[in-house]
Amino acid sequence: MNPELRLIAAPGPTYAALARAPSRIGPITALRRPLLVAMIIGCSTAILATRHATPSLVLSTTICWSVVVLIQIAIALAVIAAPARRTVGIPRALDLFFAAHAPWSLWMLALIARSPTAGERTLVPVLVAALVPIVLTPRILAAFFREVLELDPREAIRCTIAHQAITWSVLIVMFGWAVALIPRIVQWLK
């Protein structure tokens, strides 16, 4: 089984093995996993919205939605930079950090397979399915902080909570701006 899928099943031992394995990851090669994630998001968006994939469409959606990956990189660097410098180095830490994205990548590909339409009666199954990566990701990240960045278990949990809090806060602010959340909340309170 590949490392990304093994992380889902057994994050601790897998990250411990990956951290021990010899690696020559530089600043450029550290971007291979983030780039794959950007491509998965871009292609998924293109296919969900149009049901096909053309070169310019895939390129455009991948560039547009890579903002999500850039935000993830910025948040990750803010949390992992200091401990990464004294352990595996920042490029390798970033590379291994993005190995934790597999649950969300699989969820997006499952969403394409489900192929909702504009007149969909309910998206509840899609949202319920998102609980899987929502639950799995903190578990994998805690193992990342513990095994790759060599933080003690309590500190690893603290970093995981900080990372998830920042990520979800940014997401809520972006989502709130996009959907005009404030008037909707006022409407709901009425």
Binding site: P3, T45, A46, V67, A118, G119, W177
Partner: protein, 296 residues
């Protein structure tokens, strides 16, 4: 073995994208005529990136044309950032006419401000918002006026509206959606018999744009021509089942076109469309399953 698997997965992604080449630039539309008018198909409620829409305006323009639409309105919630970005882009791709717009999203109503020259404040009454839209040269359309989103439309607001979404996906997605939209449309027609019947998709992330659409009887194929037709009430709303809403004479003229467009099928559809998506999906799925080259 694993290296070969990854190469195959990348090959599938590449093959999928190459298969999509033929749909890169859809065939230009040739709108039919009805007397002195040209009959345009439009979707006046489309969300775009950046915002809560999947596609950037230039991609939406191409996709809309592929779905047989002549014009779309970019209606993000309370902002027009995507329109501003589209204006700054150095390239202009082919596709449907893009109309600068926004969806005014307040606690009591949602209103599409179509063809405006600038932002309209959303924290005001629906009647005042419609007046603000008119001041900026646009038309005011009640967006999905059902349930709580219809409460802000008092009689003054109905008098100020130019159009009403009579066809919208919530007809299919929400219990009583069809009944509520029909009731609101009748109420608006009671005060303003020639109010424009609008069919919109409220497109966000899931295909197809043009699921519900509006047939516009315009004097010319331009933003001004479209807005003028809405003001005159020269429109017919068309839902995804092929049912029309609007003036009987105009509805009769586009009944066949509405049935043909029901659910927004792709024009010039070919086996390569689903094949391209399937190849890309299989390739990406393979890349996630096979993972990196690292042995653990």
């Amino acid at each position: 073995m694993k290296l070969g698997g990854r190469a195959l997965a990348w090959g599938l992604v590449g093959a999928g994208v190459v298969l999509g080449f033929h749909a890169e630039t859809p065939r230009p539309l040739d709108p039919p005529r009805h007397g002195a008018d040209v009959v345009l198909a439009a979707d006046f409620h489309v969300h775009s990136f950046p915002g809560d829409g999947a596609l950037a305006p230039w991609d939406l323009a191409v996709e809309a044309q592929r779905r047989g639409l002549d014009a779309i309105a970019l209606t993000n919630h309370n902002h027009r950032v995507s329109w501003s970005i589209a204006q700054m882009m150095p390239f202009h791709r082919a596709g449907a006419l893009l109309i600068p717009s926004e969806e005014l999203t307040s606690a009591a109503y949602h209103m599409a401000a179509v063809g405006t020259s600038g932002n309209v404040p959303w924290h005001q009454s629906a009647a005042a918002a419609a007046a603000g839209i008119h001041d900026r040269g646009g038309v005011a359309i009640a967006a999905h006026p059902a349930g709580d989103d219809a409460k802000g439309f008092d009689d003054a607001a109905l008098d100020a509206l130019d159009g009403v979404e009579a066809a919208h996906p919530l007809m299919y997605a929400v219990r009583n959606g069809r009944r509520d939209l029909a009731a609101f449309y009748e109420r608006a027609r009671g005060r303003k018999p020639r109010i424009a019947a609008i069919g919109s998709t409220d497109f966000h992330f899931f295909a197809p744009v043009g699921f519900c659409r509006t047939f516009v009887f315009a004097r010319e194929r331009s933003i001004d021509g479209v807005l003028d037709a809405i003001r005159r009430g020269a429109t017919v709303a068309c839902d995804a089942s092929g049912t029309t809403f609007g003036p009987a004479d105009l509805s009769a003229a586009v009944a066949g076109a509405c049935r043909a467009a029901a659910g927004a099928p792709v024009r010039d559809s070919a086996w390569t469309d689903p094949a391209s998506a399937l190849c890309v999906w299989l390739g990406l799925f393979g890349l996630v399953l096979l993972g990196s080259h690292e042995a653990v």
